[in-house]
């Protein structure tokens, strides 16, 4: 007794008062926690937990009704993998308190409208699915749900709207049917049949240009890469044939049937789908990734077929679990592995397939690549006896099918593999073919994470041709044997000058001595660039700074001015890149680093004049994409500055308006406003010029692609040769990759791209890539 009192008063007299005012917050947190946690591992059964929770919430309704409503609406939106747990809970509450049920339905409709207004289409799907499952819990009357579906499907009659809008409304309806199809068919079979035939009509006439761009493999065997609506339609068809018998979904409400069927149902208010707005961003279409079927899981439960609705539900739930827990890899792994109903399915195979589906998703994975690798590692730690084998099986399968795999996906596969250090097998040594190239890239990236000798030690002798070269710096003027090269003497002098910390002027004076091999004696064109000068200076500098990245970077930074002087022309810039490439030829990682100098941005395409083999190396593309990203960051930074200045001006204007009429103050704020307006004008110009640079960058890149591809196509045509060489496949997929990786930025410049580059005169092979890209948002 006394001990309790002591702890009560540990803060002195205030404690009692403080606790009273903080109680409601504690209770709200407790409610949140109780609701969020229901359905997790517990000593009692799910049913008794739900029963208990319903009782607690019912008792709290008088005081905390709004809070409870908001929490339940949130879990409906954010925890779709526990859909049926929460619909059962709502069903129980509705049975005890009819008014609350009605208010909940209204709150959900309001939330649905908001999510649609805010372009949160994926969450809207979960809300509609929740509502449809409430039919199973006797909260919502079936006919009113059918009416909502009919309103959704009527959207397919709209004209002059993006196809992705119509797609979404069809997808929502179809994706609810695994949960509620049976119930709706029992009550309203005529209307449902009509609905389904309207859907079928729509699916037949919709355009599917986008599909090739989104497929991970170009081959149809062994697993076709189906467009997502086609796959879902096939699954629903099969479900219908099975008379809507669905056996996978966990349905706690069945245990409460006697209680729930006594409850009164509510009618959904008539819901008109919001009209199309120009700034609406509908979800992009997808292709369903499959890599396993029932033949792959050797023992244990059979994997549901690709057109079974069970497959759809399992994949949906696993994707939702990753979406909820991706930030915490251990929790995510644990949640995936404790998927309810796991004893009836080969869960490890499903998990691995879903993870690779996300990793390989085009245009880009839903979450950062490195998350998937760390998740796979955690999964292997939790299931060391079974999961690594599945992963090894998956890796082998992916390796065997590299020939038809999309290049972007191969890149991601490489990253994933290197992080998890699995062994790869190699069959042929044709270095242009995907498999040996793949192994080479894997080994090279592995080397970046460790060191050359290590790779030599662990790679079997048969693959020694694929081991990357020792990443040492190649210095042209290294030793005495180079003394016959022009510029050798200057190189030595420059080297000493740099070591002795000579000034920029002194170094430029030394370089003046270098003859220009390009200049004719009577050449009157003034300062054309001197490639030898650049060569000597840069090589010498980089050789001195070769110790590490940081050294190289500070060297380039310190002598920035000299480099600028030597390379005022575009050709000069090009040449710098060539020299850097020569120097770090065997150390591609360093090449990536140097490529990021902003002053060299537009000339990155110079790498493409190199022999085709280099063109296929991964690091060239790393440079390209990194450069584009840097440019994007640059534009965004200036845009942000502009926004901030505009906000400041607005605040200032508001302050002046509100504060009053003191003459002096007015003058001061007028001045400030004037300055801000000037600043905004300047920033506006800066933004426009940055955007113009950005547009130019893309124009240059696409132009180069078109040139190279057209050359190849023309050559093949005149020689009557098949165009599909490995080089061609790589090149065209790299073009696709540029579109996919930067689709948000490129959207802004579509008009210019279409007018200047992707015109009707272009070879149809190249134009197809552009058209597929456009189809992603139409």
């Amino acid at each position: 007794m006394s001990r309790r009192r002591h702890s009560d008063e540990n803060d002195g007299g205030q404690a009692h008062k403080r606790r009273r005012t903080s109680e409601p917050i504690e209770i709200e947190d407790r409610l949140e926690s109780l609701i969020c946690r229901v359905g997790e591992k517990s000593t009692s059964s799910l049913e008794s937990n739900l029963e208990g929770l319903a009782g607690v919430l019912e008792a709290d309704l008088p005081n905390y009704k709004n809070k409870i409503l908001r929490i339940l609406c949130s879990v409906a939106r954010l925890l779709p993998e526990k859909l049926t747990v929460y619909t059962t809970l709502v069903g129980l509450l509705n049975a005890r308190n009819y008014n609350f049920g009605g208010e909940f339905v209204e709150a959900m409709i309001r939330q649905l409208k908001e999510t649609l207004k805010n372009n949160l289409y994926n969450e809207a799907v979960y809300l509609v699915r929740f509502l449809s499952d409430l039919v199973n819990c006797h909260v919502i009357a079936a006919p009113s749900m059918v009416a909502m579906f009919e309103n959704f499907i009527s959207v397919t009659q709209e004209e002059d709207v993006p196809q992705v809008r119509l797609d979404w409304f069809v997808y929502v309806v179809l994706s609810c049917l695994p949960w509620v199809g049976k119930e709706l068919y029992e009550k309203k079979d005529v209307e449902m049949d009509r609905l389904l035939s309207q859907i079928e009509g729509y699916l037949k006439r919709r355009v599917k240009t986008h599909v090739p761009m989104l497929q991970v493999w170009t081959a149809e065997k062994p697993h076709p890469q189906e467009e997502y609506l086609d796959c879902l339609w096939a699954q629903i068809q099969k479900l219908k044939k099975d008379r809507w018998q669905e056996r996978h979904i966990l349905r706690p409400y069945i245990a409460f049937d006697s209680v729930l069927c006594e409850a009164l149902q509510h009618n959904l208010p008539p819901f008109t789908p919001p009209g199309h707005m120009p700034d609406a961003q509908y979800p992009m279409p997808r292709v369903i990734f499959r890599m396993f079927d029932y033949t792959d899981a050797p023992e244990g439960p059979v994997m549901p077929g690709s057109h079974s609705v069970e497959r759809f539900v399992i994949e949906e739930n696993l994707h939702c679990i990753i979406k909820t827990h991706w930030k915490e890899r251990k929790t995510c792994a644990a949640q995936l592995l404790s998927y309810p109903g796991k004893n009836k399915i080969p869960l490890n195979y499903h998990i691995v397939e879903v993870i690779f589906a996300e990793l390989f998703q085009l245009p880009s994975p839903p979450h950062i690549d490195v998350m998937y690798t760390s998740l796979l590692i955690e999964l292997c730690k939790l299931q060391p006896g079974s999961l690594p084998q599945v992963l090894a099986q998956a890796t082998e399968m992916l390796y065997m099918r590299l020939d038809t795999m999309n290049t972007s996906c191969i890149d991601r596969f490489i990253y994933q593999l290197v992080c998890s250090s699995f062994e790869a097998d190699c069959l042929t040594l044709d270095l242009d073919k995907p498999k040996p190239k793949f192994v080479k890239e894997v080994l090279e990236k592995s080397m970046r994470l460790s060191y050359h000798q290590r790779i030599v030690d662990i790679v079997p002798a048969t693959f020694s041709a694929l081991i990357p070269a020792d990443p040492i710096f190649t210095f042209k003027y290294e030793d005495e044997s180079a003394s016959t090269l022009p510029g050798y003497a200057t190189s030595v002098t420059v080297s000493n000058a740099i070591k002795n910390r000579a000034s920029n002027e002194e170094i430029l004076a030394i370089l003046k001595e270098v003859p220009n091999p390009n200049q004719e004696d009577d050449d009157d064109e003034g300062e054309s660039f001197n490639p030898l000068k650049i060569d000597v200076f840069l090589q010498t500098l980089l050789h001195l700074a070769a110790k590490s990245f940081s050294h190289s970077f500070s060297a380039l930074g310190k002598f920035h001015e000299i480099l600028k002087t030597l390379t005022e022309s575009d050709e000069g810039k090009l040449h710098i890149l060539k020299v850097v490439y020569e120097v770090w030829r065997n150390h591609p990682q360093c090449d990536c680093f140097h490529g990021e100098e902003r002053q060299l941005i537009c000339e990155v395409s110079s790498c493409w004049n190199e022999p085709p083999l280099i063109f296929c190396r991964l690091f060239i593309w790393e440079i390209l994409h990194s450069t584009i990203r840097k440019m994007n960051k640059h534009v965004q930074k200036i845009q942000k500055e502009l926004e901030e200045a505009k906000e400041k001006l607005e605040k200032q204007q508001n302050k002046r308006r509100d504060s009053g009429e003191d003459e002096d103050m007015e003058k001061n704020s007028e001045d400030e406003e004037g300055q801000l307006e000037e600043q905004i004008e300047r920033l506006q110009e800066k933004v426009e010029s940055a955007q113009s640079e950005q547009k130019n960058l893309f124009l240059v890149i696409f132009q180069r692609f078109i040139m190279l591809l057209t050359e190849h196509l023309v050559r093949c045509e005149t020689g009557s040769v098949d165009i599909s060489t490995p080089w061609y496949k790589n090149c065209i997929e790299r073009l696709q990759q540029v579109f996919l990786m930067h689709h948000v930025t490129i959207q802004q410049y579509m008009g210019t791209l279409e007018n200047l580059l992707f015109t009707a005169e272009l070879d149809h092979h190249i134009l197809a890539v552009y058209q597929q890209f456009c189809a992603l948002q139409l």
Binding site: R77, K327, M371
Partner: protein
């Protein structure tokens, strides 16, 4: 709209740890504030032979790395098993805390933690012998971190002398 559920927003891998730099110039409150806004990570348990390039390759998976500062032995000026990685954005650093912390580099499990920001002088080990403090006192043999801990090394040689 609806409630932002605290229970669902758990992001424990990015939380600030208990460690506070004793040499930090400023009070606890200021240090915590900086830690919560920082884009810089401390990386520990590296091998002495791990290069900047290796660190870059690993951490670049989370975003563009602004700079890497390899920790040095104060006396020998050689790598002594830690470094700082600075990103351009906090979001990238958070991803490193979520997905790189606790994974392997050069076959060693590395550890990342928030850092208040690099200042000149912080790249040096603070142990008496010039390396990190942890290498002063540890008793185990770690070939990638100079073998035995410094104290253990001294004890060994004293023992050897006394025996003969």
């Amino acid at each position: 709209m609806s409630a932002k559920l605290n229970a669902l927003n758990s992001d424990s891998y990015t939380e600030v740890s208990q460690y506070r730099d004793q040499h930090f110039k400023g009070n606890r409150y200021e240090q915590e504030k900086l830690l919560k806004q920082s884009n810089t990570l401390y990386v520990g348990n590296l091998s002495f032979y791990t290069t900047e390039e290796q660190v870059h390759e690993l951490f670049a998976k989370c975003g563009d790395v602004k700079r890497i500062i390899i920790g040095l032995d104060k006396i020998k000026k050689t790598a002594c098993g830690f470094c700082f990685v600075e990103y351009y954005t906090r979001g990238d650093a958070e991803n490193a805390m979520r997905f790189v912390n606790g994974t392997r580099l050069d076959d060693r499990i590395i550890r990342t933690d928030w850092d208040a920001g690099f200042k000149e002088g912080r790249q040096y080990g603070r142990g008496k012998s010039g390396g990190q403090v942890r290498d002063e006192y540890r008793q185990d043999y770690d070939p990638a971190r100079g073998g035995y801990g410094k104290l253990a090394q001294q004890q060994r040689s004293t023992e050897a002398r006394n025996t003969f």
